[in-house]
Amino acid sequence: MAKTTPLHSTHVSLDARMIDFGGWDMPIQYEGIVSECATTRQRVGIFDIGHMGRLEFSGPQAVEALDYCVSCNVAALTDGRVKYGLILTERGTAIDDVLVYKDIDRVHVVVNAGNRDVDREHFRKIVAEKGFDCLVIDAACPQEPHQGHSFLGVPQTMLALQGPNSETLLQRVVNTDTVVSELRYYRMMRTTILGLNCLVSRTGYTGEDGFEIFFDLREAQRMWDLLLSQGEDLGISPVGLGARDTLRTEAGMPLYGNEIDLETTPIEAGLRFGVALKGGDYIGKSVLADQVENGVSKKLVGLEVDTRRVPRQGCALMDGETTLGAVTSGTFAPTLDKNIAMGFVPPSHAEVGTTFEVDIRGKRHGCTVVPMPFYKRSK
């Protein structure tokens, strides 16, 4: 039985096309991917991201515990900072990629929908093994016995506002003491909306300005309705996972299961910015340090193709009869009006400007390594 977010029936009543995503029955599109991408790039889109996991490290050793479990330097984060990092195996490969939120009395971790259970159990195992004095609370789970100790005290869900009009919209709905423009990129704050305690961060997965809002999941419908009605004159509309995936690909952002997985390290995937080599020890660190020092055998690159056929995940990248690697994500990019892809190749083929071929369903086409991100918003 597929899992659902509190807004599931809302999506169905909006006639959204639903798909299974990591065990969740989620909207892939409402009006259409192209128009939903345009909404996000030009106005503001509202995304139900209640399927994503939210875990909290709480207790005297919360920071130390998480610092040992993820690749970014949690100990160095000042209150209110958000940082990208990865949960790694001993081999330095990725169990998941996460956002870490340093709150005043705890650390929040947002994890991928498909990895919620794996991540939680991994964290709890490490915490128990190392004897860290901290709780790992599943803040999204109604069955969580320690929910009373979570930030909200009740199970929470999550919505995202993404697009240039997000700030204006969010300012309209938060309490009058909150100045949204003061919240900088990759920062979080506590505030209230509809009188409800919320955690708001200036983060997202689209390459656009925007916010993610954590709040009581029982209030999901009321929050959704409020944001849609308050955002009407700002051009708001709901955006599904299809556009979300295309937007994040345009922005060169990795997706777990595509660019990163249990066979890939963050160094190989070009995620050096999520890896701290100073600071304390964490699982997988020595492998990453070695790769930074001595190089990697595969590298993630951005690609453009000489065809209007679209390279998709799994398409082989070829140099003559040698298989270099494969496409990890590929899409038509509506914002750029061209086809883009990401894929792994050996370092010998990873320089920008290198040309080779991609096999799209049995036919070869030329492709060129290009810089990432493909799309960068103007500030």
């Binding site: 892939i28 259409g32 679209v310 998709r312 038509f332 509506p334």
Partner: protein
């Protein structure tokens, strides 16, 4: 525009017969299901079509889909305009959005296609 006398395949291709020449494309149902079309890769003139086999592909933002030959025959004309203007397919799938015309080689295959009423039922069952 939806001409009279269309025949349909189960995989949502339509065909219109004039003497021994068939015009084919994809139905409005297919256009809606595929959504966000970005490219159509069509065969060349003189290419041979075999009923039920893929002869073209349609790229949408999220997926690529094979388009199947509703009947067998030899391509005599290709609608080059749809390659550059997918709106023609989206807005007028039975008219300006046709894909190819081909000379029918096995007229008896026509019996396996659905008429408008049967196709409507088929779509309802698959909608």
């Amino acid at each position: 525009m939806r001409p009279e006398g269309l025949r349909f395949s189960k995989s949502h291709e339509w065909v219109l017969i004039e003497k021994d020449i068939a015009t084919t494309g994809i139905s409005d149902f297919a256009v809606k299901a595929l959504s966000d079309l970005v490219f159509v890769d069509l065969p060349a003139e003189t290419d041979l079509l075999e009923q039920g086999q893929p002869y073209a592909e349609v790229e949408s933002v999220k997926a690529v889909s094979d388009i199947y030959a509703p009947l067998s025959g030899e391509v005599v004309e290709v609608n080059e305009e749809v390659g550059d203007d997918l709106d023609k397919v989206s807005k007028d799938p039975f008219g300006a959005g046709w894909f190819v015309k081909f000379r029918i080689s096995h007229p008896n295959e026509l019996e396996s296609l659905m008429d408008e009423a049967a196709y409507k039922k088929h779509c309802k069952a698959n909608g």
